[in-house]
C-alpha cells in the first residue's frame, strides 16, 4: 500500500475548513451591515444646498422650532418652507452661489428636494410631539446639530436603540425647558430622570409594547 496524501496535505485540509468557517461568518456580518441602514451613522448626506446647522444653530443661535415649527404639535417635526428661509435670505447672502437653488425655488415656486437623514421604516410610527412633550431632548436622537456643518446621523435608529430609552427613559429625560438646548447635562441624571418620569406621567409599563410604535 502507498500513501494517498502528501504529509502536509492534512494541514491544508484543516486550514481550508477553518477558512470556509471564517468566510461564512464574514458573509453573514457583511449582509447584516448592508441590509439595515440607508446610510451609515456619521456619514454626511448629500444635499441640494449644503445647509449648515452649525452656522444657523451654533453661531446664529436660531431655535430649532423656528424652522421645525410643528415639532411640538405634530408627529412630523416639519421641514421649513422656502418662505422661512427667505425671511432672512431675501436680504442676507442673496448673491451666494450655494443659495442659488433656494432662491430659484422661491422665484420659480418649484419645491426643493432634500435628502432624508433620519429615515425610519414605514411600519414605524414615530411622533415628535409626544417625545418633546415628555422631555426627550432633540440632542438625544439628533446629536449636537449645533456642531454639524453638514447634517448627519449620530444614532443607529435601530429598534434596539429605541428600546434602550423606552426601557429606561430616566437615562435620557430632561426638563421640558431644556428640550431644545444643545449640550445640556443634568447633575444627577438618574435621580432627575426618575423624578421626571413621575412628573410627566410616563407609563413605563407600556413603553415597550409593540403597539406604541407599530400599527
Amino acid at each position: 500500500m502507498t500513501q494517498i496524501f502528501h504529509p502536509r496535505f492534512g494541514l491544508v485540509v484543516k486550514l481550508t475548513l477553518l477558512a470556509l468557517l471564517a468566510l461564512a461568518s464574514a458573509a453573514v456580518l457583511a449582509w447584516r451591515g448592508l441590509t439595515n441602514e440607508a446610510h451609515r451613522v456619521g456619514e454626511a448626506v448629500e444635499q441640494p444646498v449644503p445647509f449648515s446647522h452649525k452656522h444657523h444653530v451654533g453661531d446664529d443661535g436660531i431655535d430649532c422650532r423656528y424652522c421645525h415649527d410643528t415639532v411640538e404639535t405634530s408627529s412630523f417635526a416639519g421641514i421649513p418652507p422656502i418662505s422661512t428661509c427667505m425671511t432672512c435670505h431675501s436680504q442676507l447672502y442673496t448673491d451666494q452661489a450655494v443659495l442659488q437653488p433656494v432662491v430659484e425655488s422661491w422665484q420659480r415656486g418649484v419645491a426643493l428636494h432634500w435628502n432624508r437623514v433620519h429615515q425610519l421604516p414605514d411600519f414605524v410610527y414615530f411622533n415628535h410631539s409626544i417625545h418633546v412633550a415628555k422631555g426627550v431632548g432633540c440632542e438625544s436622537c439628533h446629536g449636537r446639530v449645533d456642531r454639524m456643518p453638514l447634517t448627519l446621523r449620530t444614532q443607529s435608529l435601530s429598534m434596539e436603540w429605541c428600546l434602550d430609552c423606552h426601557r429606561a427613559p430616566q437615562k435620557y429625560l430632561r426638563p421640558r425647558t431644556q428640550v431644545f438646548t444643545m449640550g445640556w447635562k443634568a447633575k444627577d441624571q438618574e435621580k432627575l430622570g426618575l423624578a421626571l418620569v413621575e412628573r410627566y406621567h410616563i407609563d413605563t409599563r407600556r413603553l415597550t409594547d409593540c403597539s406604541v410604535c407599530h400599527r
Binding site: 500500500m1 494517498i4 439595515n36 443607529s156 428600546l163
Partner: protein, 447 residues
C-alpha cells in the same frame, strides 16, 4: 424462523469484497440510470415549484381560511416520520443488542438522513416569508427580540435542527471504518482520494476502536430519546392548539408509533429491491424481512389502538366539539379519506399475522407501500379535518389542493430517491465492519 443472520459462506474477506465491490467495481446499471432520471425529473418539478412559490407566495397552494395548513405540513410530518425508523433501527436495536440490525442500519440511516433533509424543506417554504425563517432561532438581532419560547413551532424548530445535525453526524461516524475499507480497496486514484478524504485517515487501531465503540454506544443511547422527543414535538405542533381533534394528550405516543410504522414501511420498500438487485440475500436474509414485518405489525397495531382510543375519547369526553369532530371524520366531507386510512393502516396489515405473507416479498412490499400511502393520508386528515370544521359554523370551509400542492409532494419523493440512489452508488450499502464483527461473534457462539 432460524436461518442464520449471515450466510455461513461469507468470511471477512468475501463479505468485505462483495459489499465494497458494489460501490467500487459494479458498473452503473441501466435500471439505476432510469430510476435516477425519473427522480431527477420529479426533483426539477419541485425546483420549479420552489421558484414559483418564492415569486408569488404560499397562495399558489390551495391553502385558505380556515384550512391554513394542509399538504405541505402533511408532507413534512410524513417525511420526518419516515426518518424515524432508521435511527430506531441503528440506535434502539443496537442498545437492545439485536444482531440482525447490522445488515440494515446503514441504508436505514441513509434513509433517515435524506428523509429528514427533505422534510426540513417544508416548514421553511411553508412560511409566508420564508426568507425570515432564521427569526425562529435565538440570536442577538438589531430588534432586541427573541423567539417566542412557548410556541411548539419553536420547540419543533430546535428539534429538527438537533435531529438533522445528530443524525447526519451519527451516519457519518458509522461510515468512517467502511470508508477506510473503500479507500484501501480503491484502485483508481480518484476513488482513493475521494474515500481517503472522507475516511480522514482511519486505520482501525484498537484504542481508536475502543473510543469509537464508546461513542457509538452513547450516540445510540441519545439517538433513541432524540427521535422520540422529535416526534413528540411534531405532535405538539398540533396538540398545543385547542382545536377539536388536535388538543389531545395521546398525540406524542401516537405520533411516535405512527412514525415507526411508516418508517418500517419505507425500510421494507427500500430493502426488498436493494436485496433483489444487488443480490444481498446473504446479508438481508428472510429472517431480517420477517423481523421487520413483525415490527411493522406491532407498530401498526399500536397506531390502530390510538385510532380507537381517539374515537373513544371523543365520545367519552362528552365535549360537543370533540364529538362533532369525530362524526365529521366518520361521515363528513373527508370520510372517504378516513376509511382509506383504516383500509391501509388497520385492515391491510392484519395479513402480516400469517408467516406465508411475511415470507412473500411481493406481498410484504405491497403492504409496506399501502402503509406509506395510508400514513400520508392520515397526516392529511389529521390536519385538515380539525381545521375545516372548527368552533364557529360560520367560518367552516373546505380545502382544495392545487397543481402546486401535488408538485411539492411528488417533487419531495423525487428528491428523496435522487439522494438515495446517489447513496447506493457512492457509499457502502451495508456496514462492513459491523458484519465482520457479527461474523466473529457468530463464530465465537458457534465454537
Amino acid at each position: 424462523m432460524n436461518t442464520p443472520l449471515l450466510a455461513p459462506r461469507e468470511t471477512f474477506a468475501t463479505l468485505t469484497d462483495r459489499v465494497s465491490d458494489i460501490t467500487l467495481e459494479r458498473p452503473t446499471g441501466r435500471l439505476w440510470l432510469l430510476a435516477f432520471a425519473l427522480s431527477f425529473v420529479l426533483t426539477a418539478w419541485l425546483g420549479a415549484g420552489i421558484v414559483w412559490l418564492l415569486a408569488k407566495g404560499v397562495g399558489i397552494w390551495g391553502l385558505d381560511m380556515p384550512v391554513a395548513w394542509a399538504f405541505a405540513i402533511a408532507d413534512y410530518v410524513w417525511w420526518i416520520a419516515i426518518g424515524m425508523a432508521g435511527t430506531f433501527i441503528s440506535g434502539g436495536l443496537y442498545l437492545a443488542r439485536q444482531g440482525w440490525r447490522n445488515a440494515l442500519n446503514r441504508y436505514a440511516e441513509a434513509m433517515t438522513v435524506f428523509a429528514v433533509s427533505v422534510s426540513g424543506i417544508f416548514p421553511i417554504l411553508h412560511l409566508g416569508r420564508p426568507w425570515f425563517f432564521y427569526w425562529l432561532a435565538p440570536y442577538p438581532d438589531r430588534m432586541g427580540l427573541w423567539p417566542q419560547w412557548r410556541s411548539s413551532l419553536f420547540w419543533d424548530f430546535s428539534a429538527i435542527v438537533a435531529y438533522l445535525i445528530v443524525s447526519v453526524l451519527y451516519f457519518y461516524v458509522g461510515l468512517i471504518p467502511d470508508l477506510a475499507t473503500l479507500r484501501d480497496r480503491a484502485r483508481t486514484r480518484g476513488k482513493q482520494v475521494f474515500y481517503g478524504l472522507l475516511a480522514i485517515g482511519w486505520r482501525g487501531e484498537a484504542r481508536h476502536w475502543q473510543r469509537f465503540e464508546t461513542l457509538n454506544l452513547l450516540l445510540a443511547a441519545m439517538a433513541v430519546p432524540l427521535v422520540f422527543s422529535v416526534h413528540s414535538m411534531v405532535a405538539l405542533d398540533f396538540s398545543e392548539g385547542l382545536l377539536p381533534g388536535w388538543h389531545s394528550t395521546i398525540f406524542p405516543p401516537f405520533f411516535v408509533a405512527g412514525a415507526l410504522f411508516s418508517g418500517f414501511g419505507m425500510v421494507l420498500v427500500l430493502g426488498i429491491p436493494l436485496r433483489h438487485f444487488f443480490g444481498l440475500g446473504d446479508f438481508i436474509t428472510e429472517r431480517h424481512l420477517d423481523n421487520l414485518a413483525k415490527l411493522m405489525l406491532a407498530a401498526g397495531l399500536f397506531v390502530d389502538y390510538s385510532y380507537a382510543s381517539e374515537m373513544f375519547n371523543a365520545f367519552y369526553s362528552g365535549d360537543r366539539y370533540e364529538i362533532a369532530h369525530a362524526m365529521q371524520q366518520l361521515t363528513g366531507a373527508y370520510a372517504w379519506v378516513y376509511w382509506t386510512i383504516i383500509g391501509c393502516n388497520a385492515v391491510s396489515i392484519q395479513a402480516l399475522w400469517f408467516p406465508r405473507v411475511r415470507r412473500s416479498h411481493a406481498a410484504l412490499f405491497a403492504i409496506a407501500l399501502l402503509v406509506l400511502i395510508g400514513m400520508w393520508f392520515e397526516r392529511f386528515l389529521l390536519i385538515v379535518s380539525s381545521l375545516y370544521h372548527d368552533f364557529l359554523p360560520s367560518s367552516w370551509g373546505m380545502f382544495y389542493p392545487t397543481f402546486w400542492d401535488i408538485a411539492f409532494l411528488a417533487g419531495s419523493i423525487g428528491l428523496f430517491f435522487l439522494l438515495f440512489l446517489l447513496f447506493v452508488r457512492l457509499l457502502p450499502l451495508l456496514p462492513m465492519f459491523e458484519l465482520r464483527k457479527l461474523r466473529a461473534r457468530l463464530e465465537r457462539e458457534g465454537a
